[in-house]
Amino acid sequence: MKLLTCPLNGQRNITEFTYGGEYHPMPDHQQATSREWAEHVFFHDNNAGVVIEWWCHSASSYWFLAERNTISDQILRTFPADEIFNQRIDFAPVPEPASDAKGESQ
């Protein structure tokens, strides 16, 4: 049995957890081009070595981050997401274009 230490629930069998993908900083949603979004959504570092990734303890729906070595499968550290996400992110919509752009949308 392979164990993973959940920051909330302690040591549990890894089968209780769901892998949630690599951790990537999100691009600026107001500025990012379509190409940058494609890279953020589809492309991965897929590193052979130490990576930071999302995991979820399925039974308690608790999401957290883990540092894991993808060659040796050693889990080096697990930590709550608020170590990285410690500031409020403002998801204000992109400002409406000025009225002179109106004709183009026809």
Binding site: K2, R35, A38, E39, F42, F43, H44, N46, N47, T70
Partner: protein, 413 residues
């Protein structure tokens, strides 16, 4: 035989035929450097040499010939995919498979015993009907069959309605086949070496030199080689190698485990797969049952075997074929599957002008071997992307034009 063993065992003068060139020093320059000597890499070299007259080619392999996923896959050949692009591509591959032994005069033991995919839900029946229609339209033999037809085709299958997920119907694919996977790499490598291609085993690429958007050289553990162009065909290490050339890829690498039983009398004719139970099995020509399933639950560059996966594979296989409870397991192993977001490969041009990609082969690489050899060689020789692989370009992810084959895998991943 024992006498020959004594006579030649201690001598370097064995009169037998050498299939591949003996290791030589690396030259300073090759027109084409192919990274990876699996079925794909050697297939590309073979087609370059035989059909395009390009023989100043080096195939570099960090381990030994065919030691990666060519040796680790479960040798399933089929073309019953869902999209027009996918079906066209794999259909052409199956056609090439059927004549492959003649093509390079090496027996790949191709056996067209058909493939049966099982439905355990109404949703699966709907999706199979869709696939059957698409396949028939594209000239691929696929049809929806009912419980009685399944019971007649596979008498040992557990057709009980009291099982956890009773079988409701199936997708029968008469073109489904299997072949001896090692022989594919050996046959291609032999044909390529006979025509002047150099195979360099134990030669690991450690860096790729890119100057103003063009590859100029590759650095290996045996020295630096200048090259006209590079083709990467390294399933299981696609991201790692592409990164040396500065190319990001939309890939996550997961292990996929399989196992094999001791040999038994022939009792199972077709390949049987159940996406719902995440398992597929067939009996090899040697009599072993090969059992494979979905990828591991998280990415890893390691081919270790786990007890978790053995338990889930065994449980699913026993649900389909209860008699396997008596079978003894011989081996369990893993390969590394480079999974793309749309379950289709990444082939063709890359952001680096003379660097060609043959990547993202997830769980569908073996069946595509001959068509990859043919089309990638054509791309390298003519610098024009053949129409049949155009849809699989890396650029499709930036255009949001994925080719979704997630539903057409043999076991959901």
């Amino acid at each position: 035989m024992p006498f020959g063993l004594l006579k030649y065992g201690l001598s370097s003068e064995y009169p037998g035929e050498h299939h591949f060139n003996p290791t030589t020093e690396l030259k300073k320059h090759y027109d084409v450097v192919i990274i990876g000597a699996g079925g794909h890499g050697t297939g590309i070299a073979y087609h370059l040499a035989k059909y395009h007259g390009i023989t100043n080619v080096a195939v570099l392999e960090k381990n030994y010939l065919g030691s990666g996923n060519t040796a680790r896959n479960t040798a399933v050949i089929r073309s019953n995919y869902l999209t027009e692009e996918g079906v066209t591509f794999y259909r052409e591959s199956v056609k090439l498979w059927q004549d492959l032994s003649n093509e390079f005069n090496y027996n790949v033991m191709m056996e067209s015993r058909g493939q049966l995919t099982l439905a355990h839900s109404d949703a699966a029946i709907r999706s199979f009907r869709w696939r059957a229609e698409v396949n028939q339209h594209m000239g691929v033999r696929s049809e929806l069959i009912d419980r009685q037809q399944i019971a007649e085709m596979v008498p040992n299958l557990n057709m009980s309605e009291d099982s956890r997920f009773p079988i409701m119907g199936g997708l029968w694919h008469a073109d489904g086949a299997t072949a001896r996977h090692d022989a594919v790499a050996w046959g291609y490598a032999k044909g390529a070496c006979e025509r002047g291609v150099e195979l360099h085993q134990l030669t690991e690429v450690q860096d790729i030199e890119v100057t103003s958007g063009r590859v100029t050289a590759v650095k290996t553990n045996r020295g630096r080689i200048e090259c006209g162009c590079v083709v990467q065909a390294v399933a299981g290490a696609s991201s790692v190698v592409a990164k040396m050339a500065g190319i990001p890829l939309p890939i996550h690498s997961y292990p996929l485990q399989a196992m094999v039983t001791q040999p038994y009398k022939p009792i199972l004719t077709p390949h049987v797969s159940s996406p719902h139970l995440h398992v597929y099995t067939h009996q090899t020509s040697r009599g072993e049952f090969v059992i494979g399933g979905g990828s591991d639950p998280y990415p890893l560059y390691n081919t270790r075997a786990t007890l978790d996966q053995r338990e889930s594979l065994t449980a699913a296989a026993l649900e389909l074929f209860p008699f396997l409870a008596q079978a003894r397991m011989l081996r369990q192993w893993a390969g590394t599957t480079d999974m793309t977001p749309d379950y289709s490969p990444i082939m063709g041009l890359s952001p680096v002008e003379n660097y060609y990609l043959d990547a993202g082969w997830g769980t569908w690489g073996f069946k595509a071997t001959p068509i990859c050899g043919k089309t990638m060689a054509k791309l390298v020789a003519t610098k024009k992307v053949p129409d049949i692989i155009k849809p699989f370009e890396l650029e499709r992810f930036y255009k949001y034009q994925q080719i979704n084959e997630a539903g057409a895998t043999a076991a959901s991943h």
